[in-house]
């Protein structure tokens, strides 16, 4: 393997890492926030706002329904407004984040909804204010699921980042497509896939370990 090719691998790896980590932080923070809002504004929850809840829920569904490759193109004006360009690694961060926010919001919402209503009742009975309940009951009790959902989301995002090659974002997926698929250099494609498998396994392993560490339910 020639040195320039190794450089390409390293560069692609770093691009993927940058794209995915920045987008993941944005998507997970925003998604979790939306999940909390969805959970607490539901009817009979802490801050019941059924109409707002419905509207938010529908919006999330719309974003989830749009295929990523279409979102990538549709969001071009937004990307240009936010990043100043529609090309490159940073430009890919916008569609990647927006693609993942609703996905992660739904996953986190499931964990939040799974918190035993008895715990919320106990917290109310002990004189907790509503935001205390979010802070001390809902979030900590749902944490194992929230972390598990992060693992799933980050891996899904690595997958989606391959398509971000379409906006010239680079990254491992882009390398595999351009060299391996389009130039029939099967070896490059396989090598990239091996790197991706290693990356995905590592994230999966780390995520499971962390989720186990914060789970005291057993």
């Amino acid at each position: 393997m020639s040195t320039p090719l190794i450089d390409k691998y390293v560069q692609a790896f770093l691009e993927t890492l940058l794209m995915v980590s920045v987008s993941a932080v944005i998507a997970i923070v925003t998604g979790l926030l939306l999940a909390v809002v969805l959970t607490v504004t539901a009817a009979k929850s802490l801050y019941p706002r059924p109409r707002f809840n419905k509207a938010l829920s529908i919006t999330i569904n719309v974003f989830r329904a749009v295929p990523f490759i279409i979102l990538l193109v549709a969001l071009l004006p937004v990307t240009r407004f936010l990043v100043g360009t529609t090309l490159g690694t940073w430009a890919a961060v916008v569609p990647l984040s927006i693609n993942l926010i609703p996905f992660y919001a739904r996953i986190a919402q499931v964990s939040l909804n799974d918190v035993d209503p008895g715990l919320i009742e106990a917290a109310r009975a002990m004189g907790c204010r509503r935001w205390h309940i979010v802070r001390h009951v809902l979030l900590p009790e749902a944490l194992p699921g929230i972390i598990g959902g992060m693992t799933v989301s980050v891996i899904a995002m690595i997958n989606a980042s391959a398509m971000a090659g379409a906006v010239g974002a680079g990254g491992l997926g882009d390398l595999a497509i351009r060299y391996g698929y389009e130039r029939y250099e099967t070896r490059v494609m396989f090598e990239v896939i091996v790197v991706l498998v290693a990356l995905v396994s590592l994230i999966q392993f780390a995520g499971e370990w962390l989720a186990r560490r914060v789970d005291h339910k057993r």
């Binding site: 002990m126 001390h136 914060v214």
Partner: protein, 359 residues
């Protein structure tokens, strides 16, 4: 917001008052009534039991005291504070004076025992040093100091309920609400939790309001009992009185498992009269506490004659009153019910039937 009255002058203010409390839920076929015009009072420092079958409205009733449930009519007041009219601040203040424990304990799985007990103090802004001191004192009280850094999942049911009790007491409340607190526990653990609740009631002068479907729990710890049936109050009074002379059918039904009814084998052998043949009279001797507060003198039993035999039964002591029922047989010949009634009390003795002598 009205400040709660502590100590002295509060004695004059009624403690927990229900005044025509009404609760309706919207149901698929129109509103469902859960509580119907309930009026009663809980006295300071007593252990007050609420019993009823499942669906009788016990749980709803208990929750109107700290407004986990809103009453749809009437009013509930605690030490003169009207619970229905409180804003969020007032409600938080009220709930810090009313501890609550639950059937399924409701401990936070992500927090250790110590953090669980400390949470009510933490959210109230109590300084960590002071909070730690109070938490340790309570863990000593419930006997779980050595489990302070354990997570609830590693504890047994009884230990979890002890943590629940410690958490409920951490604000030094005046009232403790118990929601089927022993229903998920085995009999031995139930006993130890009930003993702990009695101790707390005595040593801290805390008012305890508990709901249960188990009459044995009421008998064990309560001073007074309210029987709830389909959202209505059907009976209210001292436990020994209600147990001794239940007035409502619902009460009698709930008491049945505890009563010493005639065993099936005896019932099968029972005949209405002996028609001149030799045999025994089977009599029931009830002890409802009031007329013989100190128990049943054996000497009085001597009035039944030399052949009297104990068949079945038992006496319980409820808050210093003997209560129960004994089934005896006496030789039918020479037994005079009137003599026995004169010795033992007229309304306590009843002839259930006769059995023929076996050869």
């Amino acid at each position: 917001m009205t400040e709660p009255l502590k100590g002295g002058p509060a004695q004059a203010v009624p403690h927990i008052v229900f005044d025509r409390v009404h609760k309706q839920y919207p149901g698929p076929g129109g509103p469902v009534t859960a509580l119907e015009a309930l009026s009663f009072e809980v006295r300071r420092g007593e252990v007050f039991g609420i019993i009823g079958r499942s669906g009788a409205g016990k749980s709803t009733l208990l929750r109107t005291i700290n407004r986990l449930e809103d009453a749809t009519g009437g009013r509930v007041s605690v030490d003169g504070v009207e619970v229905n009219h409180l804003d969020e601040d007032g409600l938080v203040a009220l709930r810090r004076r009313i501890g609550m424990i639950f059937q399924h304990f409701n401990l936070l799985s992500a927090k250790t025992v110590r953090e669980n007990v400390a949470l009510p103090l933490k959210v109230a802004g109590v300084k960590p040093a002071e909070a730690a001191q109070r938490v340790d004192a309570l863990l000593d009280l419930v006997g779980l100091r050595d489990k302070a850094d354990t997570y609830p999942a590693k504890l047994s049911g009884g230990q979890k309920q002890r943590v629940g009790i410690a958490r409920a007491l951490v604000h030094q409340p005046e009232v403790l609400l118990c929601d089927e607190a022993t229903s998920a526990l085995d009999p031995e653990t139930t006993q130890s939790i009930l003993t702990l609740l009695s101790d707390i009631n005595r040593s801290l002068g805390l008012t305890v309001v508990l709901i249960t479907h188990d009459m044995a729990v009421i008998r064990e710890v309560c001073d007074r009992v309210l029987v709830l049936d389909q959202g209505r109050l059907v009976e209210l009074g001292e436990v020994w009185r209600v147990f001794g002379q239940p007035q409502a059918d619902a009460t009698r039904a709930l008491l049945r498992p505890l009563q010493h009814d005639l065993p099936a084998d005896l019932l099968a052998a029972l005949v209405p009269d002996l028609q001149g043949r030799p045999g025994q009279a089977v009599i029931s001797l009830a002890c409802a506490g009031e007329s013989l507060p100190h128990g049943l003198p054996l000497q009085a039993l001597a009035a039944l004659g030399p052949g009297a035999t104990l068949l079945h039964g038992g006496l319980d002591r409820i808050r210093g009153h003997a209560q129960g029922r004994l089934l005896l047989s006496v030789p039918a010949s020479g037994f005079h019910i009137d003599n026995a009634r004169a010795a033992l009390g007229a309304d306590r003795l009843e002839i259930l039937g006769y059995v023929h002598a076996t050869d």
